[in-house]
């Protein structure tokens, strides 16, 4: 890899041997036959070339305009970031949402929020988390589960003959929207062999308003004060009792709260 084939001074001598003496009379043939140093002509610019310039400038400018991403410092999208993409992406997202049934949406919400305790099969954990599959609270009228999920549940409770009460169920009204709570209820009321009426976002909204000044979680007695088949107002009746305006839970739960 050492590219110096010979030391420089030796090279100089070698140069002298290269057929040229110090006296410049003897000029190497290559130089004698050599042409003049290059010169430059003055031909004018052709009109076609100007046309090519115009095209290049136009095309380059158009490209810059189209794909500049509005020259925004954090716009990764060449087509101009928010307006077109948001529309395209957002619409697509919503469509996807709309394509899913409330049951499917509920399944996702359940997986994200409830599954850790009640398990994917809805059977809960014996002694700790009550089952939702076949639970009398879940599968009865929609009012009781609505109350539980919105405001939470604490204290001893008996589900399917088993006693629970070591853990509490947090209120979800701060975390989940009406629509989401409705969806997850719809899901758990029709999954794992459950077969109860679906719940709508409007029903939950109404219940949320009704319970607005109910401060704490419910307890088993609160729930038992509500008829087992009490539906939320405005729901599609599935052959169940017509939704009664019914007394708000507060008076009944007053002993507890």
């Amino acid at each position: 890899m050492n590219e110096q084939t010979s030391p420089p001074d030796q090279r100089v001598r070698q140069g002298m041997d290269y057929g040229e003496s110090e006296e410049v009379q003897e000029v190497h043939a290559a130089i004698q036959r050599e042409k003049r140093e290059p010169r430059v002509g003055l031909e004018p610019l052709s009109i076609w070339l100007i046309a090519v310039y115009g095209l290049a400038v136009f095309f380059g400018g158009a490209y810059l305009g189209r794909y500049s991403g509005n020259f925004s410092g954090d716009g990764l999208d060449p087509l101009g970031g928010p307006p077109p993409t948001k529309k395209a992406g957002g619409a697509q997202g919503e469509q996807q949402q709309a394509e899913l049934t409330p049951h499917d949406r509920g399944k996702k919400i359940f997986a994200a929020n409830c599954q850790t305790c009640h398990q994917a099969n809805g059977l809960g954990v014996p002694g700790q988390y009550p089952p939702l599959a076949g639970s009398e609270f879940t599968t009865g009228g929609s009012r009781r589960p609505g109350m539980i999920v919105l405001k939470g549940l604490e204290g001893p409770v008996t589900v399917k003959g088993q006693k629970f009460g070591t853990a509490v169920m947090q209120p979800w009204d701060k975390t989940l929207t009406d629509q989401r709570i409705a969806d997850v209820l719809t899901y758990e009321r029709s999954e794992w062999g459950n077969n109860a009426s679906p719940v709508t976002g409007e029903q939950i909204a109404a219940l949320r308003k009704e319970l607005a000044n109910h401060p704490s979680s419910f307890t088993e007695p609160d729930l038992l004060g509500v008829p087992a088949d009490a539906e939320l107002p405005g729901g599609a009746p599935v052959g169940a009792a017509p939704p009664k305006p019914g007394a708000p839970p507060q008076p009944q739960s007053s002993p507890a709260s």
Partner: protein, 495 residues
């Protein structure tokens, strides 16, 4: 001494007068003064070329036969590949280009090179820097940035060597005689000033005060692309602007075209680079600005191409005889192809399939080899006989060199382009695993290895021929070495 000081007034074109004795003697003196440094640059460059070629063959084989020497750490792909690239870029291309540039500068400034031994020292330093850098890469000190893999300690040596070399070139310009500044001088002076700007800026922003995160990739690609355009491109174009009119003995077609071509080149090239990162995590406008600048390079390319074409008009048959002309014109045509391909693959819709595939390697080779290296070979065929006082020994070896290079580089570019597009399309297909996208191009990679064999033959043949010249074993004759026997008397001067 700034590039912007190049006067824009049109030089007067004297009517054709035969070269006088005085002129011949002056040239002989100038050639004698540049002899030692230029030959030093050339010899070093060719040794690096051979070494880089061997590394390239190794890298190419490893791509389809990865088990080769895979247990020797310094022969792993991740080290040999950057070693190959940097040997070619800094060892071969830069040194050969500087050799040619020094000779051209001396000739065009009509001044003898003073103190040539200091330039020899510069070349020695440069060699040392490359050696240090390649060694550094092989032991694992690579920095990991494209074409900047040399560890910082080698980069410093290169920079010092470069300052030594450039001051000589600029000094020659300072002591120039005659009031005309020829096109070639614009390009060479430009290249000599652009290189330190590019190199220093990249080193500064990557190693001294590193920019944040992904912006390092932006700097790195800006550097790599502009080294190709503003350093190699400028030297290559400047050389072609000299060799073509010189060999055929006819003025360059148009001064106006030359001016427009030069300034638009300088203006637009420096904006390019980011197009190699399409769809990367960068603000879209950065990438788009580079693409738009690449589209605008159509202007200098069309201008320069037309200028060369019109100069050659009617003289193309001379390529049958003159080795210089043949190599140079091939290189000049490749420049147009290279730039056109560059525009095509910069567009977002195409880049999507091409970026980060073998096709971008085809692009680099089109620029650095089919264009630059071929032009430099051409200039060596012209310059070396004037330095050693002998003619090239065998026309057959020159022909072999030319055709092995042409077929070799042609095959390589076709294989890598086709393979690259296929690879890109497969990578873009979500139903294919990534590994499949690499496996499908194996046949193309084998084809590329074949092209490497051809190029190896070509380089060793040339090195052998050059060695003969260096040791005074060329022909002593007043007739140049033509590629084919010359039928007419008159064309003998055209070499």
């Amino acid at each position: 001494m700034d590039a912007t000081e190049i006067p824009l007034k049109a030089p007067s074109v004297p009517t054709d007068v035969p070269t006088s004795n005085v002129e011949q003697i002056e040239r002989a003196l100038i050639d004698a003064s540049t002899r030692v440094p230029v030959l030093m640059f050339y010899t070093s460059a060719i040794v690096w070329l051979l070494f880089g070629t061997l590394l390239a063959g190794f890298v190419s084989f490893k791509l389809h036969s990865p088990d080769w020497f895979s247990n020797v750490s310094f022969l792993t792909w991740g080290r040999v590949r950057p070693a190959h690239m940097n040997v070619m870029v800094y060892g071969w291309a830069s040194m050969a280009g500087m050799g040619t540039a020094i000779w051209l500068m001396a000739r065009l400034c009509r001044t003898v090179l003073r103190h040539p031994l200091l330039l020899v020292a510069g070349a020695g330093f440069w060699n040392f820097g490359v050696l240090l850098g390649v060694g550094g890469i092989l032991v694992g000190d690579s920095t990991g940035y494209q074409w900047l893999e040399f560890p910082p300690y080698a980069a410093i040596v290169l920079f010092v060597a470069y300052s030594l070399i450039i001051s000589w070139a600029v000094l020659m310009f300072r002591f120039r005689r005659g009031d005309q500044i020829y096109i070639t001088q614009w390009y060479l002076l430009g290249a000599f000033l652009w290189f330190p700007w590019l190199y220093a800026a990249a080193q500064l922003m990557l190693f001294v005060v590193p920019v944040q995160g992904v912006m390092q990739a932006a700097v790195s690609w800006w550097f790599a692309n502009n080294l190709l355009f503003l350093w190699f491109g400028a030297i290559g174009l400047g050389t072609a602007y000299y060799m073509i009119p010189k060999v055929i003995g006819r003025p360059v077609y148009s001064y106006h075209l030359a001016t427009i071509g030069f300034w638009t080149y300088a203006l637009f090239s420096s904006w390019t680079g980011m197009q190699r990162l399409v769809d990367g995590p960068f603000p879209a406008w950065m990438i788009t600005a580079s693409i738009a600048a690449t589209i605008l390079t159509i202007i200098p390319v069309a201008t320069v191409g037309l200028n060369h074409h019109m100069t050659m008009q009617g003289y193309f048959p001379l390529m049958r005889y003159s080795p210089t002309l043949r190599f140079t014109v091939f290189g000049a045509i490749s420049y147009t192809v290279f730039s056109a391909l560059g525009v095509l693959i910069s567009l977002r819709s195409v880049a999507r399939y091409v970026n980060f595939t073998q096709a971008s390697i085809a692009y680099s080779h089109l620029g650095l080899y089919a264009f630059f290296t071929m032009v430099i070979f051409g200039s060596m065929y012209y310059i070396v006989p004037r330095l050693v006082g002998r003619e090239w020994r065998y026309a057959s070896l020159i022909k072999l060199h030319f055709w092995a290079s042409v077929y070799g580089i042609g095959l390589m570019i076709l294989m890598l382009l086709a393979g690259g597009f296929l690879q890109g399309a497969n990578m873009d297909n979500p139903s294919l695993a990534f590994s499949e996208s690499t496996q499908t191009i194996l046949p193309y990679l084998r084809g590329r290895s074949l092209s490497g064999v051809l190029l190896t033959v070509s380089h060793f043949v040339f090195a052998f021929h050059f060695g003969l010249m260096l040791f005074g074993l060329g022909r002593t004759s007043s007739v140049p070495t033509f590629l084919n026997p010359v039928e007419t008397e008159g064309s003998e001067a055209h070499v």
